[in-house]
Amino acid sequence: MADESYPQDLRYYKEHDWVRVDGEDAVFGITWFAQDALGEIVYAELPEVGAEIKAGEPYGELESVKAVTDVYAPLTGEVVEVNEALQDEPQRVNEDCYGEGWLIRVRMTAPGELGDLMEADAYKRFLDEA
């Protein structure tokens, strides 16, 4: 597993998701803190391409060792790509949470929601809240 980090070029959501903006798309994943707290990911249940997801609502589930946890959408949009590699290698979420462990790519339909997300430094302060 990589060392704890929160890249400056990403935005962060309070349910411990990250967002990488790529044109009109946004790529979602879970943060280093989330994957560390959940433990070894053994299964990822993700939506199909074409699914509509809504900010603040669960769009998938991750199974770590015997625990099933919802994953929440930081933004609203349509799923345009799913990280199929996680079907065979779900541990990529632990090994490279900001890279090969990405979860889905979404075509944003409400890009104004980006303003509700946290910068890296704000997310780190958020983690330090009691």
């Binding site: 199974e63 060792v65 809240e129």
Partner: protein, 226 residues
Amino acid sequence: MSIIKILPDLRDGGGAQMALDEGLLQTADDVLARRYTWAPPALSIGKFQELQLVPGLPFEVVRRPTGGRAVLHGEAFEWSFAVVFPPGVPTPGPRGAVDVGTPYGLVAAAFAAALKELGVTLDGSGEVAYRRSALCFSGALRYDICSRGQKVVAIAQARKGGRTLVHGSFLMERPPAELTEAVETLVGELWESDGLAASGVTPAPETIWNTTLRKLEATLRRVVAG
């Protein structure tokens, strides 16, 4: 006033038991706990576990809302329990949203303390890699409880809407051969655990559960008090 609201024991089929646990996971506003028994016997499988079923099985097969592997249930040899935590409990603040370890740890520690008080010798805790076994009682993981090399308590978890369900199975003794042989044929693995019977000390299930709840209540009071 107790932190834990204790629900009545329930004897029912697996479908009803898992529907109730799922319902509690979606609605609990207090810490809730219940003990239950499975009648008729059932094999519960993890939420995403794949298993090729065959006709003529001597038990029901039901899917749990939690992760993990297959568990054989039946009132003659096993009982189950559920503890549901509302949002913000036991871990408040932003970190609580993904804190899998604390709810597991609280429940497992309560069982361990109760069993020690009742005279059961427990094995030292040791975390092992998540073995790809199809049978839950074939491999002990962190937070599982073992005595004399036999897994006694298996625990699994689900999290939804800020709530946490920790439920599990307490194996009192080895299930009847008719059931274990059917499970072995189904999953292609040998049944390994004799449960609590291997310890030579077998308190009544009600005694174990009530003692566990007393330990959990005491711990939660300390946690809530900060």
